[in-house]
Amino acid sequence: MTSKWIKGMAAGSLLLSSALHGAVDFTKDLLPILEERCLKCHGHVKESGKVVTKGDLDITKPESVKEFLKAGHPEDSTFYTLVISDDEDDYMPPKGDRLTDAQKKVISDWIKQGASFEGYSKKAKGETLLEKLAKGTSAPSKAAIAHFEQMGALVLPLAQNSPLLQLNFKPVGSKSNPDMTKRIVELKGNIVWLNLSKANINDASLVPVTELKKLTRLHLDNTGITDAGLQSVASLTNLEYLNLYNTAVTDAGIAKLASLKSLKKLFLWQSKVTEAGVKSLQAKLPNTYIHFMTPKMKAPVKKEEKKKAPKKK
């Protein structure tokens, strides 16, 4: 139910946004609006790869957008007129609330300033690592999944109809034992997330882990593994997240991890590593965030007056 102060809100925002004129950049100002409100029917790529382009407009392709506008003249570009039209059955976007005045203004300003696309990089976010890993992966073996489910572990695909798996041993709880990880090799093509946190495992249990080439996240925190175990981890080229919080690994052990070029996050709090060990590993893995210090709080602020003069941004 729309209510009074929504209208008040719109009035208020008009007040300021007019101050925001200046050059409208397609990627920074316009694309976020289009992605949010138009992409679903104009340029959305379905799982099956088919691109939905209703009224054959695809906002991700500049030439398709150009078809619907006349540079410099928002009033005779359907790209803009449909957005502000009040005709019941053809105003855009058809579903949900109308665009806000500020958003309409961005579109008309952009067209008035010649509707330029330069600087527009088709946000080629490229495939994420997980999409790359999913390519060409065959479905996981049912028997292996049943084996782990029977044991009480949680085996779930990463997403609907995705061949990649997450294997979580935590629900096994007190019944977990060192050789429960034997048969993970049967799923080596599929497992990307492995959670052995708090599991009753030892270094030998990690031997099969070496074959999980697609592993990106590995939880080994609160377990009995030592430096020897890290040997089986060193060859996981896709590993991004490794949690060794509260384990017995030392500097010698973590030195073996220098080969993990794609590692983004390493947690070593309450392990046996020293600052020196961490510094030397950090040198080899410059863009890995390594966390091993105990969290500390600031000393409580003393009563004296803090300097107030706020710096101008």
Binding site: K4, Y245, P295, K306
Partner: protein, 482 residues
């Protein structure tokens, strides 16, 4: 107990797990889902605990400051408002606006506390949040939140159930319905209360609405019995209770052999889960087990019912794979009518109560490597006005602000949210959103997206319609995500 019996029991339980999960999905263990209309069943089949896309977050801690903290004193620094302090509020702001208690033309009220710039992005943070200043680079500040509800109860219902009237499932229920539970001895959706009072909307903000009560949030209390009726009666030790459960299970099995009702086996597994919960809930809730320095970090003291205790409990519950932990802290409704609802004494008291624990929570989660897949959200149900509330037309001794749904600030951290980032702007006095507005349904859609769900596809069929958390609105704000 003989080994043989143990294995039989275990196998039995496993079978039961499947039957109860399948039969729960299919039949009478929650009546409604019986042979109901096909498409909702498909909705059931589609989710059965698998998200639509791979979610960056797997768990949520929601810190709700019931009463609506004043964004103009804490996060949204407005130099112009400081200058207009004491001057009458310009006419243009007041038309079309509904005021709860303020009358006529109230005077503008400058920020009552000083601000400073912190973190790489130089974000303005109030001096009242000294600890929070140290984690500014971990959080995303959303300054352009707005809602369309004016009173506490409807606004809280909208924030947590997506609809201002009663009867809809809360966010925690939707997440558990979508992703199921990751542990088998704790409820997967728990709520904790502090500040002395229940939020205005009552229990329905963690209720399961029309979803089966299976998905209801379980309120745990840090004083007395953590879960209702979890303590055995006087004189019944845990071993003795185990014997009674064995007797119950044996007789239920005898009955099942004859009647063959799958629900009987499901009840056996629920009784076993109850037995485990009798141990696991008190264990999880016992913060005296935490090392001294961790308790100091939070400022938590065993036995008290405080926000600090609840933050530490939240981390312990998430560590034990509870899916959704919901904290409510009452006492932020600073109208300025008396010393315990004004912007000086009361706001100072409340900020001191929450600043340290919420900061400790983020640092603690981060050090354990849990912040990556745990989304922490902090905020109230609406904002407060830039002018001073003159209840009944005149100013009392105390200073306060009225309700203002037009603009307020929330923050989120972890679970895939950007770090050291500030999103959206309000107008020059902080009364309306000027850039990148985020409606309540947008925030919910974004949170669902982080948990791996397309908010338009996670639906539940009820009374002829596929209902969803974001009702009919909601757009994912991708700019908030890494």
């Amino acid at each position: 107990m003989s080994l043989f019996k143990n294995i039989f029991q275990e196998a039995d339980e496993k079978v039961v797990q499947d039957i109860s999960r399948r039969s729960f999905l299919k039949h009478s263990s929650c009546g409604m889902l019986g042979s109901m209309a096909l498409n909702s069943l498909m909705a059931e089949e589609k989710t059965n605990n698998i998200p639509h896309h791979h979610g960056t977050a797997k768990k949520v801690i929601f810190l709700h400051m019931a009463g609506a903290p004043s964004q103009l004193e804490l996060f949204d620094y407005k130099p112009l408002l400081e200058k207009m302090d004491g001057k009458p509020c310009p006419e243009s702001y007041l038309e079309g606006k509904k005021l709860a208690f303020a009358k006529g033309i109230p005077d503008m009220l400058g920020p009552q506390h000083k601000f400073g710039q912190y973190g790489e992005s130089g974000t303005y943070i109030s001096d009242k949040l000294p600890h929070f200043q140290s984690i500014v680079d971990e959080v995303t500040l959303i300054k352009s939140m707005y809602t369309d509800q004016f009173n506490h109860a409807p606004a809280q219902l909208l924030m947590h159930t997506g609809f201002p009237r009663l009867g809809r499932p809360s966010m925690g229920s939707w997440m558990t319905y979508g992703l199921g539970s990751e542990n088998n001895n704790l409820p997967s959706y728990i709520s904790l209360i502090s500040g002395g009072k229940v939020p205005s909307a009552g229990k329905s903000v963690w209720g399961s609405g029309f979803l089966p009560s299976f998905y209801q949030g379980v309120q745990c209390r840090s004083q007395g019995e953590p879960v209702m009726y979890s303590a055995n009666p006087k004189g019944v030790s845990r071993d003795l209770r185990r014997r009674t459960l064995d007797a119950i299970n044996d007789m239920n099995r005898i009955q099942h052999a004859e009647a063959k009702d799958p629900e009987t086996l499901a009840r056996i597994s629920q009784y076993e889960m109850a037995f485990r919960m009798q141990m696991s809930v008190p264990e999880a809730m016992d913060i005296s087990k935490e090392p001294e320095y961790i308790r100091d970090m939070y400022g938590a003291e065993p036995g008290k019912a405080s926000f600090a205790n609840n933050c530490l409990l939240a981390r312990r519950l998430i560590e034990r794979d509870v899916r959704f932990v919901q904290l409510y802290d009452w006492g932020w409704d600073n109208h300025g009518t008396n010393p315990n609802d004004d912007l000086h004494n009361q706001l100072t008291k409340k900020t001191r109560e929450v600043d340290r624990p919420m900061t400790a929570l983020i640092k603690d989660l981060k050090s354990r490597g849990m912040l990556d897949d745990t989304l922490v959200v902090w905020g109230g149900e609406f904002g407060r006005t830039p002018f001073r509330e003159n209840r009944g037309g005149k100013y009392g001794k105390y200073v306060g602000r009225d309700h203002s749904p037009g603009a307020f600030t929330m923050w989120m951290a972890g679970g895939g949210a950007k770090k050291g980032f500030s999103y959206g702007e309000t107008d020059e006095v902080g009364y309306n959103v000027a850039q990148n507005p985020v409606f309540i349904h947008d925030l919910q859609a974004t949170m669902m997206h982080m948990m791996g769900f397309n908010h338009e596809k996670l639906t539940y069929y009820f009374q002829g319609r596929d209902y969803r958390l974001t009702d009919v609105g909601g757009h994912v704000k991708k700019d908030l995500l890494i």
